[in-house]
């Protein structure tokens, strides 16, 4: 079981700014919280909001590390706040910033939804198969190699938290860069035998500098993905594939 040093006082340095409030200016505010055993950043933020400042904004949904709502910069690195234990930080100082690369809603809350929907529309994150609608739901489903199904699931585990986008230097320089989240979707649907898109069709989507050729290979995505998805391998794979496409 998790044991934390009981009674330690944590210092949270939190980015505060509400763009909805006229005249509000961005600032860092420090809050002190008494650490409890097994405390996560989720628990601490709730305590701060309820006991110290009712206006503090942040996003949590599942609080179990699976919904991707709570990505934020925790002591310099993008991560999921719900499953980050405060005991991880030896000196008890925790700095929280909103994820860069997304529109700020307020404080630690950013608008990943609009970004992710645009990414989905750009990549076409659905099975492209003109015959799919005609398949009878009464009949046996189309068979799939069991290994392929498992491999697709490995890539389908992306929770669109945005940590890879926040960690991406290319994205910071080039606003229209697709980013690792989009590449992972491409890799996932490219691998899926049910998706009938050709390599040439994929080239239309990612065969340029805003796509897979723009990546500077700094691999902040690989280093910071909370789901440990194979970004490095897949970006390399897509590049190789796209280089081979005759246009």
């Amino acid at each position: 079981m998790i044991q934390a040093k009981d009674g330690r006082t944590l210092k949270f340095h939190i980015f505060r700014y509400n763009p909805q409030l006229e005249g509000d200016e961005p600032k860092m505010v420090t809050y002190e919280v008494k650490e409890a055993p097994g405390m996560t950043v989720f628990i601490a933020l709730n305590e701060i909001r309820e006991q110290q400042d009712r206006s503090l904004q942040y996003d949590f949904v599942c609080r179990a590390g699976i919904c991707g709502s709570c990505g934020m910069i925790i002591n310099g690195k993008p991560d999921l706040a719900c499953r980050t234990l405060t005991s991880k930080f030896k000196n008890g100082e925790i700095t929280l910033l909103p994820l860069p690369g997304f529109d700020l809603i307020g404080d630690l809350s950013v608008n990943t939804g609009t970004f992710n929907r645009a990414m989905s529309e750009r990549v076409g994150t659905w099975i492209h198969d003109e015959q799919a609608a005609e398949k009878s739901l009464d009949e046996l489903e189309e068979r799939m190699d069991p290994d392929l199904a498992d491999e697709i699931y490995e890539l389908d585990r992306c929770i669109e938290c945005g940590c890879c986008i926040a960690a991406c230097a290319t994205k910071r320089m080039r606003d229209d860069f697709l980013g690792a989240m989009g590449f992972m979707k491409v890799a996932r649907f490219h691998m899926d035998s049910r998706d009938k898109r050709s390599d040439a069709a994929w080239y239309e989507i990612i065969g340029n500098d805003e796509g897979v050729f723009g990546c500077m290979t700094l691999l902040g995505c690989e280093d910071n993905c909370p789901k440990d998805l194979p970004h490095q391998t897949k970006i390399a794979f897509l590049r190789r594939k796209m280089v081979g496409v005759k246009v």
Partner: protein
């Protein structure tokens, strides 16, 4: 006046909402989904273990079909469900699994040949047939006769939700995110949409629609500890209650899942036990076979949760600073299996407990998990009181779960209900010419705006967090797994007082735009009313059925209680709901009440049961030459949208 018009308004962007929206959009109707959050973050994503559908591809599912699924569901419900709806569901579920496959869910597939599995704590080899290779596999779950739970590792809900949301994006369905419906627009007989608050700007908008579907999930957060997402506060269920007209039903039917981790209450899937995991006590002893010799760890959830609680009460729990717990042991499944099929469980154990389930036992305890009760609907999904109002998924009481839901049947219900209810919503939109009384819309906008102004302007009043915690504690302490008259009576009185206090909530952060405290101030009074419905229903129901277990009334009393509890909130000034009842008709049941085959069976029979059993036997003997489909139709005919009535194909038996 801010107004947005559409044909089909869907409140909630989880699986049930998205699937309903896809159905109406595909019928050519203008459709809008409202969601508190980006749709892919919905709580549907947390369903780990899988979705039941009788595809019968794996060898351990041989002989499975709609009939077996139906029977398991009815038994699981402790005969509280609507058997027509359970039939509609069992018939459509295989189609739902197959449809999701065409939409991209990477279902785990059957691999031909021998494979090693753990059954009843022993490693055995099963041989999958050659002709099953590559078809959708299934795992074992509680309360089921066959391996029927289709899955993708333990991220099933995630893959389903992503496939459904991607399909919705392909269809061009707009999802209006960070919007909260705070009131229904209605005239007492018809619903015209909802008043919606923008959670960023604070602006109120009237979404006016021909049909409004609520698909907002459960109300687990009325309890202190719940496996539910923090947004599962039940506001979607509260909206009809606030109309004073529409009824909620069986609100006392609350499920506690046997294996949530201690102390934070995050779920570890039933797949852990389905795949062979065991429950152990303070001595490392496997205790479930002593209580449930037949189903052991895989009895239905209500039964396992009660047995665990009983065992802890005997002093066999593991003491911890957060109270007693038991152990879930999946070490016997081996590293390879855990890392492939239970990887989310492994991550949760690593991050929240600092343990490795390959080597260590997981500390677990029964925890609030699912709301069987909800908005009362017809089998079409439409409210029985307000025309044009529909509900689908956990928020509804459609009612296929009765007093206990089987694992794997909820995520299945979301999609299946979306498919079926979506068709009926579209039918309604096409048939009804809706005259929108704009004066009603205007009045609701004004009223909601005034309520918010009052909350902001109030200088002295109740603290919203204090009220919320008081409610959650009452529910936790007095309306839990085991219930008794004395505690329930206290719970009702205390909640009654909270309802009164919640009318004068005041907040510290006095801004109208994005303001988490204001969100709570709008929600908490509605949540307390829901809690009161649960407590009142539980107090009045003097029997034990499914998840509702009364220590002072341990028997299932079919004679007096084979009925659903209805709750309405008649007047705004009332401090408690008004209860009513609706009988279940034994003479229409395909499966008359009987024993579940697990749990304690003390049953006071219904006077019609014997008569109906005889009647069914006569029907059976009068039709010796018909197939199972014909026989079923003769015993209990039911309606279903035409497109889902086709027979389901399975290997070995074809369309039989």
């Amino acid at each position: 006046m801010n107004v947005i018009y559409t044909d089909s308004l869907v409140i909630g962007g989880g699986l049930a909402g998205l699937r309903t929206a896809i159905a109406t959009k595909q019928r050519g109707l203008d459709t809008i989904v409202l969601s508190l959050i980006p749709a892919k973050r919905s709580h549907s994503a947390a369903a780990q273990g899988g979705m039941q559908g009788s595809l019968a591809a794996t060898i351990k599912a041989e002989g499975d079909n709609e009939d077996v699924h139906f029977a398991d569901t009815v038994k699981g419900s402790d005969w509280g469900c609507d058997q027509d709806v359970a039939r509609m569901f069992a018939q459509t579920a295989p189609k739902a699994v197959r449809e999701l496959s065409t939409w991209g869910v990477p279902w785990t597939r059957v691999r031909k040949g021998p494979r090693s599995v753990v059954i009843n704590a022993e490693r055995v080899t099963i041989n999958e047939k050659d002709e099953a290779h590559g078809l959708i596999s299934a795992r074992d779950f509680g309360g089921t006769k066959k391996w029927r739970t289709c899955y993708t590792s333990d991220g099933t809900g995630h893959t389903m939700l992503y496939a459904a949301d991607n399909k919705a994006i392909e269809c061009g369905i707009p999802v209006h995110e960070r919007k909260e419906a705070i009131a229904l627009i209605h005239d007492g007989s018809k619903c015209y949409g909802a008043i919606v608050r923008d959670l960023i700007t604070g602006e109120l908008v009237a979404y006016v629609a021909r049909a409004t579907t609520i698909a907002t999930g459960g109300y687990g957060r009325i309890y202190s500890v719940s496996t539910n997402a923090v947004i599962s506060e039940g506001i979607g269920a509260a909206l009809p209650l606030e109309t004073g007209v529409a009824s909620l039903v069986n609100m006392e039917a609350v499920q506690f899942h046997p294996t949530a981790i201690v102390p934070v209450g995050i779920l570890t899937t039933e797949g852990c036990r389905g795949d062979g995991g065991l429950l152990k006590d303070v001595d490392g002893y496997r205790f479930m076979p002593d209580y449930e010799p037949e189903k052991k760890e895989l009895a239905s959830r209500d039964v396992v949760s009660r047995r665990m609680t009983e065992h802890m009460r005997k002093g066999k729990g593991v003491p911890s600073p957060y109270g007693d717990h038991l152990w879930l042991d999946i070490t016997l499944l081996g590293k390879e299996h855990i890392e492939k099929n239970l990887r989310e469980v492994k991550e949760i154990c690593e991050y929240f407990l600092g343990i490795d389930p390959v080597k260590d036992y997981i500390p677990v305890r029964p925890t609030q998990h699912y709301s069987m009760g909800g908005i009362r609907t017809f089998a079409t999904g439409e409210s029985r009181q307000l025309k044009g109002l529909f509900a689908a998924g956990e928020v509804s009481c459609w009612d296929m779960h009765g007093f206990n839901r089987l694992g794997g049947n909820s995520v299945a219900e979301t999609i299946v209900a979306g498919m079926i209810v979506g068709e009926y919503v579209a039918d309604y939109c096409e048939s009804e010419s809706v005259e929108i009384p704009m004066s009603v819309v205007r009045e609701f906008l004004r009223r909601e705006d005034a309520k918010i102004t009052a909350i902001i302007d109030r200088t002295n009043g109740e603290d919203v967090y204090e009220l919320k915690y008081a409610m959650q504690k009452i529910m936790m302490d007095k309306v839990g797994i085991f219930r008794n008259g004395e505690d329930l009576e206290k719970a009702v009185q205390e909640l009654e007082a909270l309802v009164a206090r919640s009318r004068s909530v005041a907040i510290q952060n006095k801004i109208r735009s994005s303001n988490p405290e204001l969100v709570e101030a709008i929600r908490v009074p509605m949540m307390i009313k829901l809690a009161a419905c649960v407590a009142c229903g539980a107090h009045a129901r003097t029997e034990s059925r499914g998840a509702h277990a009364r220590e002072d009334h341990p028997e299932r009393n079919d004679r007096d209680w084979l009925k659903r509890t209805l709750a309405i909130w008649k007047n705004e000034a009332d401090d408690l709901p008004t209860l009513g009842y609706e009988d279940l008709d034994v003479m229409k049941m395909e499966m008359p009440p009987g024993s579940r085959g697990y749990g304690k069976a003390e049953i006071i029979p219904h006077p019609d049961t014997e008569r109906r059993v005889k009647q069914i036997e006569e029907i059976q003997s009068s039709m010796p030459d018909v197939d199972r489909h014909e026989l079923q139709k003769a015993i209990m005919p039911y309606e279903l949208p035409e497109k889902y009535t086709g027979k389901n194909e399975r290997i070995g038996v074809g369309f039989e």
